[in-house]
Symmetry: none
Subunit: 83 residues, 4 copies
DNA sequence: CCAACTGAACACGATC
DNA sequence: GATCGTGTTCAGTTGG
């Protein structure tokens, strides 16, 4: 056996690698979360209402999702017609 | 007036900039979320139990948080004594 | 019709009962919250630093959660091996 | 000294008692939280939309708070007149 | 005013 | 494939 394995047939090294990759990514994600918080903080200092800002962002996200849905629908129609 | 403002005295351009920065960051964050999902998917294909993996990651995160809290607590104590 | 129903086919009486049960429980919970607040208040009057107390409680809670998660993880492993 | 004290002048026994009382109360509170969850679960099984139920409960709570505020205001007025 | 805690919404995976 | 339960994440509230 080239690779060390436990009785369960689990390659611990590979598992560890997976877990570390995920932990690394989660750290990055948390870092970005901190960045976002900072931007809100800046905006607040500049006198903006962050609660409203959040609403704006949420609405824009929904609109975007809507538009993408519409696009998908359009594609569907076009494909249907193209047949 | 050098900068265009609405009646509310809000600098719309600056607000827009803040919002766009946040939206950019949120996109990045979502991208990383997708990456994480992929790694789990890979691990699953390699025969690992993702449920267990998640639990392991959660415990490791809690351990880490625990240690950090202990440090904070120590600092608190020291400050309290220092008074 | 034995039971009065609205046009939506919803048994209003039963719904009301559910909601009242929940509201009752939420009141109880709020009451306990008030009790907790009082204890903190007492402790503060006795000269203790509530900030430190909260941190201690938080850490103890995390430790406990940690231990429970470890147990769950062990169970998961055993089940995985048992297959 | 009747009671054992550390150098910081902290009565550890009393502190411990406070913390245990709080932890006990928090457990009770968590128990009630679990009960609430169960009721929602029951309601769901009975075919009710829990999301809407939550809204109803929230609105009723706000109404109640409103009414209490009105009562306080009324009391204030009555007291003012009574003087 | 900042930070922690709580509760709600969402998204994902598991199961039938 | 759809529904169900669960876990994660986000917004709101409260306390320091």
């Amino acid at each position: 056996m080239a690779v060390k394995k436990g009785s369960g047939g689990v390659d611990a090294g590979r598992l560890k690698s997976f877990i570390q990759r995920i932990e690394k990514l989660e750290e990055e994600r948390a870092g970005i979360g901190a960045d976002i918080k900072e931007v809100f903080s800046e905006a607040k200092s500049a006198g903006y209402d962050t609660k409203i800002m959040r609403q704006v962002i949420r609405i824009r996200k929904m609109d975007k999702a809507d538009r993408e849905e519409q696009d998908e629908l359009l594609t569907l129609y076009l494909n249907a017609v193209g047949e």
